[in-house]
Amino acid sequence: MSDLYYTDTELMITRAALELGNDDTVLVGVGVPNLACNLAKQTHAPDLEMVYESGTVDSDPDALPLSIGDPVLATGARSIVTMYDGFGRYLQAGRIDVGFLGGAQIDRWGNINSTVIGDYDDPKVRLPGSGGACEIASNARRTLIIAPHQRRRFPEEVDFVTSPGYVGGRKGRDERGLRGGPEAVITDMAVMKFDDAGEMYVETIHPGVTREAVQEATGWDLAFADDVTETPTPEADEIRLIREELDPDGIYTGGDE
């Protein structure tokens, strides 16, 4: 029996939850983001407002939703609006503080590809596409990116920009009138932030992971903070909440990749 009492996924959930404040309104995705939001709500951010792409505002689900449009998100919500109004009145109008994004490829500027691997017109792998990701990346006040840390997922250049990060640096983002930008990238190896130019750098590394391993799993010469520290590990009560209340069937936290 080792003293490693949490999984990689559980660490990503607890670390992501730390990024959420009590006054935040968050556009939630299913999976890890959903668990992170619900964990934050049950610990340090009880007033966190969860909005879903399907147009449910301040959802308070009785059970874990499989999709972002499950009926548990509708019953008891503060309000339910059309897609046009959810994306328009809430997201585009600046009423979403935090958006979660994932993707098949992420580059050093936080640009994300969730559309296609290979050529758009003759794809090697056709991925689902933007959904709301492009407008979340363009309009949320800050975005959190969550992804497994693998070299193929962190290439020098993405095959397609589905969701703009710091395109052409922070200045390029401003010139395009894009609000906010990527705040942090949380992987199963490290937590990365973005410097003044808009380039990703490693802020903390998870326990048991080496700096070399993080670099090896990244497709460019990755920058590290001068004072890289260890990522804070989950608290025992957070793990208990995740396993007993938030994901009791282990749908999202059942196994490590």
Binding site: V30, G31, E53, S54, G55, T56, P65, L66, S67, I68, G69, D70, P71, L73, A74, T75, I80, T82, M83, Y84, F87, G88, L91, Q92, T115, Y120, D121, P123, K124, V125, R126, L127, P128, G129, S130, G131, G132, A133, C134, E135, S138, N139, F160, V161, T162, S163, P164, V167, G172, R173, R176, G177, L178
Partner: protein
């Protein structure tokens, strides 16, 4: 003039080969019964449109109904890929399809413009993304009020046919819907011909008792159809829940083109209509999807005579 009829007749009269057909409903209220009917009737060369193609378009694509698909997120929600969609795009199986791709906001903004006869609509999305490079309908214009600012715009979408679902409607086609309404209402207003499929046709007085909930007026509806469980395996708020098992199972069912055709042969061609499909699903499955009753407090509309 709205015609009250069955799904078979409504589809046969409303849809022609080669039409652009919008199937409404974001996760909720997806018109599966109508999709299956289009497969049974052997439609070809349809331009199918849905923000989230979902299982219904995966099934229609595998059946060879589609020559083009307009969409914004082509995945199996909460599960993974839409395998038939991918086979068509990646390998041309069973046929090549043209794709016309947006983000969610981009696509519902096209519907918004189509429903209101606007020439185009500006959106704060797409700039900095690769999407405009691959879709000539996504363009940029100078903001006429701030000429230095570039603004992304999308054109109106006017489908030949919209097929939408709601909880209940009057025989005239006035519809009450609640829960996640998504893209349903703008889809109906944007289309030339509207097929409205509901869980229940109820009397006109019920509809008139709560006009704020009447999001779709019968004046834009051409066909109204009572089709209980017509959205399974998606759901109808207050009537039945989302059949998440069916979504998870679809990942295996659709693993190959052949296994997908086998499923279609059993569940679509193997039944004559939705009633037979529901009978085949069985009582246990339906009972498991039944929610606990949870009524909203009534409102006082007032009578002023």
């Amino acid at each position: 003039m709205t015609k009250e009829t069955d799904t078979n007749t409504a589809i046969a009269e409303a849809v022609d080969d080669g039409d652009s057909v919008y199937l409404g409903g974001f996760t909720h209220l997806i018109p599966f019964a109508s999709g299956h009917e289009m497969i049974r009737q052997g439609y070809e060369d349809l331009h199918l449109i849905r923000a989230t193609p979902d299982l219904v378009l995966d099934q229609m694509i595998a059946a060879g109904c589609a020559s083009a698909v307009t969409f914004s997120w082509a995945g199996n929600p909460g599960v993974g890929s839409l395998r038939a969609f991918r086979r068509a795009v990646e390998d041309g199986v069973p046929n090549e399809i043209d794709i016309d791709e947006y983000s969610h906001f981009g696509l519902v903004s096209r519907l918004f413009a189509g429903a209101r006869d606007m020439p185009f609509v500006p959106v704060r999305t797409f700039l900095g993304s690769s999407l405009p490079e691959h879709n000539e309908r996504i363009r940029t214009v100078a903001n006429p009020y701030e000429p230095d600012d570039e603004v992304a715009v999308v054109p109106p979408l006017r489908p030949d046919v919209a097929i939408v679902r709601a909880q209940r409607a009057s025989p005239e086609g006035d519809a009450h819907l609640w829960g996640i309404t998504g893209d349903v209402v703008d889809a109906a207003f944007a289309a030339e011909t509207v097929v409205l499929s509901v869980e229940e046709v109820v009397d006109t007085e019920t509809l008139r008792s709560d006009p704020n909930r009447t999001e779709i007026p019968g004046t834009i509806v051409d066909y109204v159809v009572e089709e209980p469980y017509g959205s399974h395996p998606s759901y109808t708020q207050g009537y039945y829940g989302r059949d998440n098992e069916a979504y998870i199972d679809w990942n295996d069912v659709s693993e190959t083109h052949e296994s997908t055709l086998e499923w279609l042969s059993e569940w679509v061609h193997g039944v004559d209509n939705r009633r037979e499909y529901v009978e085949k699903l069985g009582v246990d499955r339906l009972l498991d999807l039944e929610p606990t009753r949870d009524y909203a407090e009534p409102i006082d509309v007032g009578r002023y005579a």
